[in-house]
């Protein structure tokens, strides 16, 4: 399937829209550009789906938590840092 068939507007228009999607979902675009994008998204299901998945990506990143540092590792790292620092302090 060619790009043109997949998407009614041209590649340059795609790039222009793509360039602004993060600013759009972060609510950082001026109102007139926002309105223009919203009009486009309403008329272009492909772009609407694309932006929904980008929004979901950001939501997942925001909620992802790494495992916490254990109390054992917290104490061990402190000891190692102090041990590494002491020779410098004496020098």
């Amino acid at each position: 399937m060619t790009r043109k068939k997949a998407h009614e507007h041209g590649e340059q228009r795609c790039l222009n829209i793509l360039r602004q999607l993060s600013a759009y979902i972060d609510d950082e675009l001026p109102e007139d550009i926002c309105a223009e994008l919203r009009r486009h998204l309403g008329a272009c299901p492909n772009c609407e789906v694309f932006i929904a998945s980008l929004r979901d990506t950001v939501k997942l990143c925001r909620q992802h938590e790494p495992p916490p540092l254990s109390a054992h590792d917290r104490a061990r790292l402190r000891q190692e840092i102090l041990r590494a620092w002491k020779p410098e302090a004496r020098a």
Binding site: C14, S22, N46, S53, P66, L77, E88
Partner: protein, 205 residues
């Protein structure tokens, strides 16, 4: 006028306070940057050692957390670990223009779930972690500071020594990269059901 942050004192006891109050933040940031436990612990050590050495130079005109993020970020870029992950390269916007309707319409199936619930799915969680780890480091750092640590674009840019505009450009490409990785990985699992594992959802016809 905002009061400057208190200067961190330089005694070992004061170091203990600095460590106790910020080690979880530094470890979380380090883990997000490194993607694995041992490298994250190395980065924590390096960060606090450098912080300890630099306590005398700390001018107190930034938040302590911002100062520690900056030290950790520089240490991370210096660390020459044999790490897996993509070599440093530039990401161009053009590479993220979908080339087929299917590529456009792939979704991340978290409909009806909160992001926390979605991340309980081990496969989705691992896919996200792998996608972030595949990012070239300077893009990963922008994404981690802004979207994971929740800093403003201005703060994240300041930590990385970038203008807010450049930070936003990197962040945007990093988001597009992770979105594409999640979709592409999902495409390999289209023969499985969502409740068995994770796969993308295509909408409509």
């Amino acid at each position: 006028m905002a009061r400057p942050a208190p200067r961190p004192p330089q005694s070992p006891e004061a170091f203990d306070t600095l460590y106790r109050e910020h080690v979880d933040l530094v470890y979380r940031y380090a883990h997000r940057l490194c993607g694995e436990d041992e490298a994250a612990k190395d980065l924590v050590q390096e960060t606090f050692l450098n912080a300890y050495r630099g306590l005398r130079q700390f001018r107190g005109d930034a938040k302590i957390s911002t100062w520690l993020y900056t030290i950790a970020s520089r240490a991370c870029l210096r660390m020459r670990r044999k790490r897996k992950g993509a070599p440093e390269r530039e990401l161009s916007l053009e590479e993220f223009v979908p080339s087929s309707e299917g590529e456009f319409r792939l979704q991340i199936p978290i409909d009806g779930l909160t992001p926390q619930q979605a991340l309980e799915n081990k496969e989705l969680r691992e896919a996200l972690e792998q996608a972030i780890n595949k990012l070239p480091k300077k893009y990963r750092m922008a994404l981690v500071l802004r979207d994971m640590e929740g800093l403003s674009a201005g703060e994240a840019g300041g930590i990385m020594g970038l203008s807010e505009r450049t930070l936003k450009t990197r962040l945007h490409r990093a988001r597009l990269f992770v979105r594409r990785e999640l979709s592409a990985r999902g495409m390999a699992h289209t023969d499985r059901h969502v409740h068995e594992g994770w796969r993308p959802k295509e909408t409509g016809s």
